[in-house]
């Protein structure tokens, strides 16, 4: 309130009180100035503050003394002044109390406003969280359901409904056994749910038969607690992995087919030398048989010699059959079979098969095989495929070499957990900038190459738990190394 107004109020209120009292006098009524003055003082204190209030009190006292009771004695004057004074003091108190009250009210209001704002915010957040949860629940691509301790569905989302060909609201309230069948419930659902009711998180993945057919699911069960420690419900999230599982199986099949095709191609390329390989023992057998006949058709048949020759035929025929079965096993499609094998024997076999190819390119094969190596758990056919790939690559690399062409094959221990095989040549060496790329699919430097050999070799080695890598040879050529984990013999 403005300064003038406040003090003006003092003046005016006292003046009004005086005026009214005067009027009363005029109408010969007992004058009530004291009462009006007290009101004026009170009003002034209340609306204008302490100082104007005091002014009003003083003014009232003066007005009373000089306008209304000019003749009273000093005692009565002092008494009335005292009354006004006491009243003023009381009013000061009243005013202060009111001020305090106002402050407290303001504080309380501020508190309440704050508290109100907080609550509003909490509600908004809660609503937001509710909304998001609902969104998650409703729009999740996974099937979400909540099952209570009575094994009945409390809530399910649309995807879950679709899995069963029903609407979500149709499923709510149903018993799990009603949906899955009593057998699946007893065997699968109930044990997992019970485990989860004890507080554990459970996961399960597997093939499930339901009304829509055979699907591959991944399920997770999480315990839900409200405020108490007790588990009141279970949140079940299920993901339909049927498509992915079928795709990964198809992929695996495709990879097996590709590996097989690559084997066939490599062997196709070796046909000429493999034919030669088989031809030797067959030719020797034929010669042996003729020799046997000669010994028998003499005038004096020499049975001993004939027998020797015949035995030679048997030996050579067996050898031919052996080579053919070795070729056959490389060609065979099918699941990989891992056995405990002597890696040196495996190496020797494949070298024997490829020896002729090497000879044809005037390449000598040198072997350095550590006889003390432990056996490895491996698929011998696949390892031979890797060896064949590396040896053929080495042979190709040395095709146009003028100097001595040598292929070195070495087997050695590489610590107590692994053994290492290396195939080294002194040919053209690794491509300069593309040393890492040689293991990529479809990378080839050969005009008619497919580019899958090293890629497949690497995945075979890695599937066995080993590594395949290449390094430059000095002074020229390349070396390919691969490791295989050795079987740890039980003590």
């Amino acid at each position: 309130m403005a300064f003038a107004l406040r003090y003006g109020l003092a003046l005016i209120s006292v003046a009004v009180a005086a005026g009214v009292a005067r009027a009363f006098l005029h109408f010969h009524l007992p004058q009530p100035f004291a009462a009006f003055a007290l009101s004026a003082i009170a009003i002034t204190f209340w609306y204008a503050g302490t100082a104007p209030g005091v002014l009003a009190a003083v003014l009232s006292s003066l007005v009373r003394d000089y306008f209304f009771e000019p003749d009273t004695n000093i005692e009565s004057r002092v008494l009335y002044d005292l009354v006004f004074l006491i009243f003023a003091v009381l009013m000061t108190r009243v005013a202060r109390a009111r001020d305090e009250l106002e402050v407290r009210v303001a504080e309380r209001t501020a508190e309440l406003t704050q508290s109100n704002d907080n609550l509003r915010r909490e509600i908004a957040e809660h609503n937001q969280a509710e909304y998001l949860t609902s969104q998650v629940f409703e729009s999740s691509p996974d099937g979400v359901s909540i099952v209570g301790t009575d094994y009945r569905y409390k809530r399910v989302n649309p995807v879950y409904g679709r899995t069963w060909g029903m609407r979500a609201d149709q499923i709510v309230g149903m018993h799990v056994a009603d949906l899955w069948g009593i057998e699946a419930f007893e065997r699968k659902n109930k044990p997992f749910l019970d485990l989860c009711f004890t507080g554990a998180n459970v996961s399960f993945a597997g093939w499930v038969d339901n009304s829509l057919g055979r699907r591959h699911f991944a399920l997770s069960y999480s315990p839900l607690r409200s405020d108490s420690e007790r588990v009141e419900a279970v949140l079940v999230i299920s993901r339909d992995l049927t498509e992915q599982t079928l795709a990964s199986e198809a992929l695996r099949q495709a990879q097996a087919d590709l590996a097989h095709a690559s084997r066939m191609t490599a062997l196709g390329e070796l046909t000429a030398s493999l034919a030669h390989e088989v031809n030797q023992p067959i030719a020797a057998a034929v010669t042996g048989a003729s020799t046997c006949v000669r010994w028998l058709t003499r005038d004096n048949p020499d049975l001993e010699e004939a027998r020797e020759a015949a035995l030679g035929v048997v030996r050579n025929a067996r050898r031919a059959a052996d080579i053919i079965s070795r070729i056959r096993s490389i060609l065979k499609k099918g699941e990989s079979k891992r056995l405990l094998v002597d890696i040196n024997e495996v190496i020797r076999e494949i070298i024997a098969l490829l020896r002729n190819e090497a000879d044809g390119h005037t390449i000598s094969i040198r072997t350095d095989l550590d006889a003390s190596l432990p056996k490895v758990l491996a698929d011998p056919v696949q390892v031979q495929q890797v060896m064949m790939n590396l040896i053929m690559n080495g042979i190709d690399a040395m095709k146009d070499l003028d100097q001595t062409r040598e292929l070195s094959i070495r087997s050695q221990s590489a610590g107590d957990r692994e053994l290492m095989i290396s195939v080294s040549d002194n040919g053209v060496g690794l491509p300069r900038q593309q040393a890492d790329q040689i293991f990529d699919a479809f990378f080839t430097t050969k005009p008619h190459g497919i580019g899958m050999g090293l890629r497949i070799s690497r995945s075979i080695v890695e599937a066995h738990g080993g590594r395949l890598w290449a390094a430059d040879n000095s002074p020229r050529g390349a070396s390919f190394y691969f490791t295989l984990p050795t079987k740890v013999e039980p003590l």
Partner: protein, 131 residues
């Protein structure tokens, strides 16, 4: 030592030399020649044959073409260069017409594919020894 004496020589000091890296083949040929009464020596490689010093006593050479190290045709060329004319019969699984002509032109007596007709081989060997 891969060469062996099976019988004492009949006609002069001439042997039949067998050069083939395949064990079975060498054994079979030795057996065959023994059955027809001819003496033979077998060598694992052309290098071994050349290093043996038996060239002068060899009346006939039966050689494979495809071998690690020196091939049969290279052996033929080497012997020709040393003016060591040994009648040579090639037996090989890899014969193509061009190779056959090349071998014959360089002086080969016969060029037989594997498996070969043993009668034909024996006749060729006898003819070579009687030259």
């Amino acid at each position: 030592m891969a060469h062996s004496f099976l019988m004492s020589p009949r006609n002069g000091a001439k042997f039949v030399a067998i050069v083939d890296d395949d064990d079975s083949m060498r054994g079979a040929l030795q057996g065959l020649l023994k059955a027809v009464g001819l003496s033979a020596r077998a060598f694992e490689s052309a290098e071994e044959f050349l290093g043996s010093g038996d060239q002068r006593e060899t009346g006939c050479l039966i050689a494979d073409i495809r071998m690690p190290g020196m091939s049969g045709l290279e052996l033929q060329a080497k012997l020709n260069a040393e003016h060591c004319r040994i009648p040579t019969i090639f037996i090989t699984a890899h014969g193509d017409e061009e190779m056959r002509l090349q071998a014959l032109r360089a002086g080969a007596v016969e060029f037989l594919p594997k498996p070969f007709d043993d009668e034909l081989l024996v006749e060729s060997v006898r003819a070579a020894l009687n030259r």
